[in-house]
């Protein structure tokens, strides 16, 4: 494990409709140190992820990704940090609907890096066991295949931090297990650090580091 700090959050405040969701939140994630972000619905998991991704702006506090402070940046500046450092996997929103899988991967690479890396695309398709879907449209894939495709889409831009929001909640037992295993394996293979937000108990045994958000903040309202 390296000691380099990938994500540093200090004294983070954010509220929705005057209801504090996060106040004084702190988190430090070192490279290759995978974390599970748990907590009941409404505890602020998605909000935290949006803040880290730069999709929301904190009211107060510092978010540093690989040494870059998001706070002082414009929207396009935050876009750039996200593009270069973060891959995101959502629960159901996986691929651009009009494009087949390989076109999706090429597009993701172009958008984030400005170039294409066929070798990486092929190795990811192979590694995630979805090479047979390369020419399939998103609606032609099964749930499990589509979620693995989303992981490929997130990894194809060679991010340093892979954030997944409920990646397994929509999947059955076998697929959930497979996706979780693949996430961990790929993280090792491609040198990516995982931050997975979930209320899926099935993932707990796989991750030693857990950040538990509690719902007590929202009870105030």
């Amino acid at each position: 494990m390296t000691d380099s700090v990938l994500l540093e959050i200090d004294n983070l405040h954010y509220s929705i409709n005057q209801r504090p969701i996060l106040s004084g939140f702190e988190l430090t994630i070192a490279a290759q140190n995978h974390h599970l972000l748990t907590g009941p619905s409404g505890s602020g998991k998605t909000t935290l992820i949006n803040l880290i991704c730069g999709l929301l702006v904190p009211e107060k506090g510092v978010i540093e990704i690989a040494g870059h402070d998001l706070a002082g940046l414009s929207e396009s500046g935050r876009d750039k940090i996200r593009r270069e450092n973060i891959g995101i996997v959502f629960q159901t929103l996986r691929l651009v609907s009009a494009l087949d899988l390989s076109a999706n991967l090429v597009l993701a690479q172009r958008l984030s890096r400005g170039q294409r890396d066929e070798a990486l695309i092929l190795s990811l398709l192979e590694r995630l066991g979805i090479a047979h879907c390369a020419k399939a449209k998103p609606h032609q894939m099964s749930q499990g295949e589509a979620q693995r495709a989303a992981i490929a889409r997130a990894l194809v831009s060679r991010p340093r931090l892979l954030i997944a929001d409920e990646p397994t909640s929509a999947l059955d037992e076998a697929n959930a297990r497979q996706v979780a295993d693949l996430l961990l394996e790929c993280a090792g293979d491609y040198g990516v650090t995982l931050l997975i937000a979930t209320h899926d108990e099935r993932l707990n045994p796989l991750f030693p580091n857990r950040i538990a958000l509690s719902a007590h903040m929202s009870k105030a309202a």
Partner: protein, 421 residues
């Protein structure tokens, strides 16, 4: 982003195809209107070129022009032969070409004239020679092609502008003989049969002096037993050698002022200027063409509206996709550009299909309808007006895409992701 825009268009190919069709129909209509308008008026100009004034019997000036320049109407009547001599003597007239009309062969008008008529249209002899002897005839290029007539072919003229079945008015006692065929000119002369004025007189049994080509104006005695339409003005005292009309070119601008006034005031004839009558004709047609043009533009606007609705629906239904694109690293302007590009591609496809369809229609029409071919409609001619249509349609496509694309700037990324993920 171009590939992505194409992929999205393919993804809802039915809507895309319908939008393209809608635009294509309006573009095709507009192009056809522009083509008809321009080719029709340029054809009119070409046919009337070199003729400053037409002198003929009193009646409708438009009819005089239609009958003696475009050869699509009956003549107004006859004028005395000495008017030709009088006009040729006038110093302001550089050329006066006599026309003796009245008969046709297989729907192609037989024009009694002299060689200068062919020169007027720059028509050259492709085969054979110019008419010299009585009953010699020179066929226009279209006449020879359509009737399949060869040199030496004999044919019989019949009365009027159209040959009707069994109308029994043929001059079968005196057949014409084709001695020459003209090269194509793209003007009215292509579908005329030229012969000498004397042949027309002969066929109608009008006696005249064969040797004296430049008539001095003295009256000829005519036979009484062959009373035909050519002679109705002077039917009372017998058949005179007469003309139907005279085409005049001025030597100088002074002629334009003096000659029409002189003819209209001092003679029993009328003078009509082709330019004036053609303009009147176009103005008559113009109202109809204008109405059709407005309709076509409304259709184009409808096409734009259809693109607008399709893209607006798409932008709403695809909110998740658009958000995902943003998360994947696409900037707002890239996503914006993709949507605008979709509108632009649809419009471009519509314009291309429309132009192709219009020209294909022109091609088919000029092949299958004799009259359109005669009008000189050409399918391969592209006009600057078409470029303007294309540009306008592309603009419609862009404008229709702008408002849906604008939504991307209003999307709250975190919210749409929360809704759709």
């Amino acid at each position: 982003m171009f590939g992505l825009a194409l992929a999205y268009l393919r993804d809802r190919s039915l809507t895309t195809a319908l939008n393209i069709l809608l635009l294509a129909i309006s573009v095709a209509m507009l192009v056809l209107l522009v083509q008809f308008g321009s080719q029709f008026s340029s054809r009119l100009d070409r046919d009337a070129q070199g003729v400053d004034l037409v002198v003929g019997a009193k009646g409708s000036p438009l009819q005089l022009i239609l009958s003696s320049i475009f050869h699509i109407d009956q003549p107004t009547g006859n004028i005395p032969l000495d008017s030709l001599t009088m006009l040729r003597r006038d110093p302001a007239v550089i050329e006066a070409i006599p026309l003796a009309l009245g008969d046709n062969f297989d729907g192609y008008r037989i024009v009694g004239t002299d060689a200068s008529y062919a020169t007027l249209y720059g028509a050259e002899i492709a085969e054979g020679k110019m008419f010299e002897a009585p009953m010699d005839a020179v066929l226009g290029a279209a006449v020879a092609r359509k009737t399949g007539a060869q040199l030496g072919q004999q044919f019989i003229g019949s009365h009027g502008l159209e040959t009707e079945e069994e109308d029994g008015q043929g001059h079968d006692h005196m057949p014409y003989k084709a001695v020459g065929i003209l090269a194509p000119t793209g003007s009215v002369i292509d579908r005329l049969i030229l012969t000498s004025v004397e042949s027309v007189w002969d066929i109608h049994g009008i006696e005249h002096d064969h040797d004296e080509h430049e008539h001095t104006g003295h009256e000829h005695e005519a036979e009484h037993d062959h009373d035909k339409a050519q002679s109705h003005l002077s039917a009372g005292e017998g058949l005179q050698p007469e003309l139907t009309a005279i085409l005049i070119s001025y030597r100088n601008a002074a002629g334009a002022i003096r000659i029409p006034a002189m003819i209209n005031r001092q003679t029993e004839m009328q003078a009509a200027a082709p330019a004036v009558e053609t303009a009147r004709l176009l103005a008559l047609f113009g109202a109809g063409i204008e109405g059709a043009r407005i309709f076509a533009w409304i259709l184009a606007a409808t096409g734009g509206l259809a693109i607008f609705i399709a893209l607006l629906n798409m932008a709403r239904a695809r909110e998740g996709d658009l958000a995902l694109l943003r998360v994947m690293g696409a900037s707002r302007s890239q996503v914006f550009g993709t949507i605008v590009l979709e509108g632009l591609i649809t419009a471009a496809a519509g314009a291309t299909v429309g132009i192709a369809a219009a020209h294909a229609a022109l091609f088919v029409a000029s092949r299958s309808f004799q009259t359109l071919g005669d009008l000189g409609l050409s399918a391969t001619q592209f006009l600057p007006g078409e470029l303007a249509i294309i540009m306008t349609v592309l603009l419609i496509g862009i404008v229709a895409a702008l408002i849906p694309a604008m939504r991307i700037f209003r999307i709250n990324l975190a919210n749409s992701l929360a809704r759709t993920s």
